[in-house]
Symmetry: C2
Subunit: 353 residues, 2 copies
């Protein structure tokens, strides 16, 4: 993929795209209405400010959602030979806004949506590695050219991401299901806790923390997202309401087979989610180890695991500052678990099979 690439909007996503392009040796130009963001981003090595005579071949629009359509249109007009893409989380809405004025000169525009890092914001939180292994939706509309689509897909690959092609409306239905619904479910569950008595809340465990974690996000961001994807979100909420009614009926009828069906469908759904990086789920197993609660011990544990060549997929540390020992959960590939257990035990670790 040839440069220069112009990034419009030097926030978290824009600056990260810029840094990823720089990492790959591509020339990057930067533009932002805020001189400070521009200074910060170029100071981080993300590129140099756009200047007179520059001719970008690809423009990545990374402005706030309300300016997307205008910025995309401006980019298409200002650089008549450039491909234009964006990184917004909803794809149909900007197209609708672009077409609203009778605009049909959109063949050099192909939308995109990297699924990464929206919890943090601003250029200082940016990283070239933000998209590594992440899904990146590439969403050509009906008049997008194949060449423009290839360029946007090449950008995603250059940034280390895993591109998936979807039609814009199809993308919106997908994220309603895989992102917006989970968020709203978390909000509904958390909402039931907001006024709960402290004695009730005291019984909170890992499950409710996992389910409600995403509900701590900034409401302003979600108002924007839900507003832009209302039709697809309403569709999936309607499905959930029907299923909730079925669930209520099933719980009210002891021994109902419907409850088993609903629970089994939940099981099937979790198995359907692909492994972290888009491939099949590599079966993992958790190995539990008692770890005296100070930093050096964890390093020793990882050192020992490393010596026997077992890769740690994930770690969960459960420790109580008032207790001398905590239980650490190492998630490893299933086929390596026994080997790791034996190795740790021979090195004096207390494991829990």
């Amino acid at each position: 993929m040839a440069g220069p690439v112009l990034v419009v909007g030097a926030g978290l996503l824009g600056t990260s795209v810029a840094l990823a392009c720089r990492r790959a040796g591509v020339e990057v130009l930067l533009d932002d209405v805020s001189p400070e963001h521009l200074r910060t981003a170029s100071g981080l090595g993300a590129g140099r400010p756009l200047s007179e005579g520059d001719l970008p071949r690809l423009v990545v629009v990374a402005t706030p959602p309300q300016h997307l359509a205008t910025s995309i249109r401006a980019a298409l007009d200002t650089w008549p030979d450039a491909v234009v893409t964006d990184v917004g989380s909803v794809k149909e809405a900007p197209l609708t806004a672009l077409r609203a004025g009778g605009d049909d000169d959109l063949e050099r525009y192909v939308g995109g949506h990297p699924m990464a890092g929206s919890e943090r914001s601003g250029p200082l939180a940016a990283t070239a590695a933000l998209f590594d292994g992440r899904p990146w939706a590439v969403t050509p509309h009906e008049t997008s050219t194949p060449q423009a689509t290839d360029v946007v897909e090449a950008l995603a690959l250059l940034c280390g991401a895993v591109p998936t092609r979807l039609a814009p409306a199809d993308h919106d239905r997908a994220v309603a299901r895989t992102s917006h619904l989970p968020h709203l479910a978390a909000v509904l569950v958390a909402g039931r806790l907001a006024d709960a008595p402290p004695a009730h809340l005291a019984l909170s465990g890992q499950g409710v923390r996992d389910v409600t974690r995403v509900a701590a996000s900034d409401p302003a961001l979600w108002l924007e997202i839900l507003g832009a994807n209302a039709p697809a979100v309403l569709d999936v909420l309607g499905e959930v309401r029907a299923e909730l009614d079925a669930l209520i009926g099933a719980v009210a009828r002891p021994g109902s087979p419907d409850l088993t069906t609903i629970l089994a469908r939940g099981n099937a759904g979790t198995a359907a989610i692909p492994g972290k990086h888009g491939g099949p789920v590599r079966p993992t197993r958790s190995v539990f180890v008692s770890v005296p609660d100070h930093p050096g011990e964890l390093a020793r544990l990882f050192g020992d695991a490393g010596e026997v060549g077992v890769n740690i997929e994930d770690v969960h540390i459960d420790h109580d500052p008032g207790r001398p020992v905590g239980l650490t959960e190492l998630v490893v590939e299933e086929s390596r678990a026994e080997h790791l257990l034996a190795a740790l035990e021979s090195r004096g670790w207390t494991t829990h099979r």
Copy 2:
């Protein structure tokens, strides 16, 4: 708290209670209908098999839910001077079953519910540390004696847990909210993914994985739990259905203030959940570090963090086997984050602020 303690049912919870009591130097007797579980548990050092002439002062009933009431009754009858408790996840149902036969000699019985470790099962998965820092509900009913209640609370403390007293029905309402509802929400969200096209599922991120994780649990266990706690679960599901209707109405009306209200209530709910070990939430901050993807590097990272004395609260490892570098998220106390960042940077690590 004086022994001997008799544990009836040498599964995960029973054996873990036994190991915790042994850790505290209390004499433990074991009983189980399965000779193999009994052998395994005593082989693990959890206690010795119950024999003729033994006189337990406390009996902990840790049988499967369908045998709870019978086992509690049997314990009360067999040892007329012992306090009897259980570790079941629903408190009102066994009481109802006990009273069904006109039984009112229940003053030595005080229910309990340690909130720990139900994802694994069997004595081999047991650990003395299972309850460390965990909530443990102590649920005296109206005729329980204060002395019996004190004994059960002492057991919880001995096992390293944080006891909370609640009336049985109140406990059931609490867990409906903090455990059963989150599980059912996860099931409903995961259910929407079960038949989704692969291209949709490809866009899954951390949010949907967090929300749906608990939906991978064994349906048989949850059928049992929901059957035993149906009234409280139906109450909270009814609240959620009303809120879901409000949410659907709000999403359908762009700019509706109701949507902000619902999202804000979700925020408030997440803030209401206490810190992992029952205290206030210690504010944490995430520090992101690029880690070359092989085991030795993670050990080196932890070693460096340990050298500067920063305790790691939690870790999230996001790595793609096809990529040489992964992003590791270290969760530390907020006040230590800058210190850790500076220390890691001075040791050559690539951090992402």
